[in-house]
């Protein structure tokens, strides 16, 4: 990960982050802010109690359009695309034939025959190639809009109040996981009521060249109410508290959708899709491992991503993501463990720098907003 900053990809907000004295890191080949001078804990708390603004322009956008678009997206993803209304969004995945993950993504239904697929930055090229490769049999166009698209995420309980004065579009009626098109601060946007923090909020997609103007307008509108710029550091702790999966951690090409606890996005009766046969077979047999949430019992024992779960000196599982939780005040994590151990209240051991420490399996999500 020692790529020189000059070789990294940059979002349209790169200069803005640097002007804010952000600490920049290499995130999947992108030069991204991990935190601003306020620090991860302050940014995390701002999102939980007020609002935070994230640059998520690194995310990939793939547009699929044409008479065969619906059939292609149905074939590529396990969730029921036909059930999406125009203006509705759902969480889903690209799966391999064996049911493991190419990536996870959001599907936006723009029209009867038009879909916007929003994928992870680090997988964007792989995903675009995957969609193109399968699209040859379908009557539709596939366009990679990622380089032309900017995206910012306004997240937190004050989001609606901050954003509404900037747009004529009525925001309150937009339901969770719905979107519309409108102008924000005079800039054409796709306004999406979604996020990756467990709080209410909006994700705004715009032309790449408009991103900085949009960011500045939202920042200026929200600052008096406590809005702060928020980096990838708190984005990770926020999503972890809500048990939202992160590619390369909870899901990847070695874990299938049912093990990951994502059976709810797998509609086996919707018709054929890539991965269906494998998941149908997996559903018949008990899964050997399961994703669980845990907390370590001592304050000094802080588990981290990829640490082993051990029993009598042998590795029996692994931690996918873990961190001290700013909201819950305890050391949390997610781990794959043998299914027979995956019981709430059960004890497991995590190996932290050569020392096996006790952890208790606890209910997830660790945090759920009250409103």
């Amino acid at each position: 990960m020692s790529t020189a900053a000059s070789e990294l990809m940059k979002t349209p907000l790169n200069a803005a982050h640097r002007a804010l004295n952000a600490k920049m890191v290499d995130f999947g080949g992108w030069d991204m802010p991990v935190q601003y001078p306020g620090g991860i804990i302050a940014e995390h708390e701002a999102v939980r109690t007020k609002a935070g603004l994230f640059d998520v322009s690194h995310m990939g956008e793939i547009r699929v359009k044409g008479p065969g678009a619906l059939a292609l997206v149905e074939h590529l993803t396990p969730n029921d695309v036909a059930k999406l209304a125009i203006g509705q969004i759902h969480y889903t995945a690209f799966l391999y034939e064996n049911g493991t993950f190419v990536d996870d993504l959001l599907v936006y239904r723009e029209g009867e025959q038009e879909f916007l697929l929003v994928v992870n930055a680090g997988n964007s090229d792989k995903d675009f190639a995957w969609v193109q490769q399968h699209a040859t049999a379908y009557d539709c166009t596939v366009v990679n809009e990622s380089p032309a698209t900017g995206q910012i995420a306004l997240q937190g309980p004050l989001s609606l109040g901050i954003l509404q004065p900037l747009t004529k579009t009525a925001l309150e009626p937009i339901g969770y996981y719905f979107f519309t098109h409108g102008e924000v601060a005079g800039i054409k946007c796709l306004i999406s009521r979604t996020g990756y923090t467990g709080e209410d909020g909006f994700e705004l997609y715009c032309a790449a060249g408009d991103t900085e103007r949009l960011w500045n307008a939202v920042m200026a509108a929200g600052k008096p109410q406590g809005l702060v710029p928020a980096g990838l550091g708190c984005r990770n702790t926020l999503r972890l508290e809500c048990k939202m999966a992160l590619y390369g951690h909870e899901i990847d090409d070695s874990i299938h959708a049912l093990e990951a606890g994502l059976g709810w996005i797998v509609k086996l009766d919707k018709g054929d899709f890539i991965g269906r046969q494998a998941l149908l077979a997996a559903k018949g047999a008990p899964a050997p491992r399961k994703l669980v949430g845990f907390k370590t019992l001592e304050k000094r024992d802080i588990a981290r991503d990829h640490m082993p779960v051990v029993q009598n000196g042998k590795q029996i599982g692994f931690v996918t993501s873990a961190a001290p939780s700013p909201t819950c005040g305890i050391n949390l994590g997610l781990a794959y463990v043998p299914t027979e151990l995956a019981k709430i209240g059960g004890r497991i051991q995590i190996e932290i720098r050569g020392r096996a420490v006790d952890a208790e399996i606890i209910p997830t999500p660790f945090y759920k907003r009250t409103k």
């Binding site: 600490k23 620090g39 991860i40 804990i41 995390h44 000094r300 802080i302 981290r304 961190a323 001290p324």
Partner: protein, 127 residues
């Protein structure tokens, strides 16, 4: 950013000789900034002895963990117990309230960097 009266290690610890054969040890401004919000500091027992360069504890931030290595051979005379409740002192005042251990020097500390040499090292690392 790097006080002239301290000695530094390449691993970003500082050592402050107190003149009577003892010294305070902590981590530098550069180290605390790289770690981000510190949430826990694991420190040794009073009476423990360490060789120069030996790990004597860990410092945990929200996003990562870092080992603490002893700048010079010594025996622990005191640990900063206030860090148990206020680990953020390491971020806010790394050369003051954020000190970690007080040691009795049992070897020489000649191999350490002075402020100027340490600053050069840090500026090379961050560019």
């Amino acid at each position: 950013m790097f006080p002239a009266d301290l000695k530094y290690t390449k691993d970003h610890e500082w050592l402050k000789p107190t003149g009577d054969g003892t010294a305070l040890v902590g981590i530098t401004q550069y180290a605390q900034d790289a770690l981000g919000d510190v949430v826990f500091v694991d420190l040794p027992e009073v009476g423990a002895s360490f060789a120069a360069g030996e790990e004597f504890g860990t410092v945990e931030s929200v996003k990562t963990v870092s080992e603490l290595n002893m700048p010079a051979a010594g025996e622990v005379l005191d640990v900063n117990t206030s860090l148990a409740d206020h680990p953020e002192a390491v971020n806010e005042d790394p050369y003051g309230k954020g000190w970690m251990v007080k040691i009795k020097l049992t070897g020489d500390s000649a191999g350490l960097l002075d402020a100027k040499a340490y600053e050069a090292l840090v500026s090379a690392e961050s560019h």
